[in-house]
Amino acid sequence: MTSLEEATATPVVLGGVRGGPTVPTLRQDRWWIQQVVTLTVLTAFVAYASWAAFVNKSYYVGAALHRDLISPFYSPCLTESCVPGSHPGTIITWWTISPALLILIFPLGFRMTCYYYRKAYYRSFWLAPPACAVSDAHGSYSGETRFPLLLQNIHRYFFYAGLIFNVILTIDAFVAFRQPGNGIGFSVGTAVLLLNALLLWAYSLSCHACRHLCGGGVKQFSRSPIRHRIWKALTPLNARHMLFAWMSLLFVAFTDFYVRLVASGTIHDYGFHF
């Protein structure tokens, strides 16, 4: 061949023969550590949250201790079985088991369908793939094209529900400034509830669906300057979505744990009042 004119196209045969090494991976680093940590922490959280949801006690610190602290796992407490003072009024009468089970469906759904957690559990639990350039553990693969994983597409509806819970938990945090019998005050419990609400807002506002709904879906930003500004403000938050996902997950469990310790009389909620 001496010129381009003499060149002939090579027929493309898709598939071909893979001739490289056949081992599952050639990686020599400890790629499995991240998956083990993720698996351990998520399993521990699910175990703790399940126990906390089913135990159905010690989730509210009331007037007897001059506090108004409620666990995020039980707020809003809307059933007849809620302890006095922990709820604005009974709305649901037919639910007879732990009120937490009624509530946790929504944050659980939000996190299960979250783009970050999907990456985390697809890698660490489902091993599809366990890590980059490590063979996945399945003979066939259809991704999120079939039921039940097709349901990942309703993430934005869990996001909407999550916003409602964020508002409620923010109200809970401000209500925690109320110290029955002492007036207005501030305690460690108040700070814990405030920080919990803040982290949950950070997690929700950094959500990929939020970024899309607020402006990412706009074709021409110059026509929607306000949505463009919102999108631009959310983008750096979105880059830290993983960080907020972990921080809010761990802190919501800690918040429940702290309220539980105070409610059960194990520790005293130190604070002051005006």
Binding site: R27, L150, Q220
Partner: protein, 322 residues
Amino acid sequence: MAEEIIRNTASGEVTMRLWRGDADGGEFAEYVMPAQEGEVVLDVIHRVQATQAPDLACRWNCKAGKCGSCSAEINGRPALMCMTRMDALPPGESVTVAPMRTFPILRDLVTDVSYNYEVAKRIPPFEPRPKMADEVLAGGYRMQQIDVERSQEFRKCIECYLCQDVCHVIRDHEENKTAFAGPRFFARSAELEMHPLDVNDRRELLQKEQGLGKCNITKCCTEVCPEHIKITDNAIIPLKERVVDASYDPVAWLGRKILKRRKRTPVEATADAPATGPAAVQPELEVHGIPAPELGIAAMVGAPSGDVASASATGADEAPPE
């Protein structure tokens, strides 16, 4: 194991384990080379070719991380050989270099990446709206920077196909190759989908033909991208959300029905154009007998103020990728 501690910093040697073989099979061969300061993996491979294995096949071109030719798997991780420094690899261990696993091998470290070119042919090309009258006079489209900056990130792609190589959808499941575009081409679709001039609606195609739903967003494509393009966060997930808008969101569906919205036509897209002035005209417009493009920039009188981006800078005037 002691025998695995091959790289001897005291003697200044490095052991390269390079895949030698073709479609009929192969194995790793070891080459002990003197270590030299400041080298990248490709430099050492070139020295192996020059001194010990002149028949070693290796694809390369620019040695600057811009041509995307020298993609391989270094110590099991997809990377450019020209951008992987030897001193960044674990000391005291051999350096393993293998061909990209996802594509058919040709010989040694060279693979046939034609699959990607086949996929590229199936991506609908850029379809701009008709030019406005003043754009015809100016000889090109006008856009504001904020409208094109999202797409510009994806123009950094050097088509090294490391993202395609690492994507487990095709890396571990060859059968998916017929119905999966892969991260590089999702980024290409995102670039076009977000482009203010493009009037194609690619969502149904992405969902039904290009296998967007097969991606389970494990972010390996982003991890290996030598251009640091946020493929998952900025291309694939936004595309998935757009597909949700079109196919899975009943409120969005109801909104479209009530507002009688449908896919944007070129005329509707033209109406959204930032330019002010008369309605869209055909490019063959002449002014005083002079073809509009030949009037050049001098005819761009009355253009709106603000950021103006050249269409060619974002690919508007370019042919679809091959």
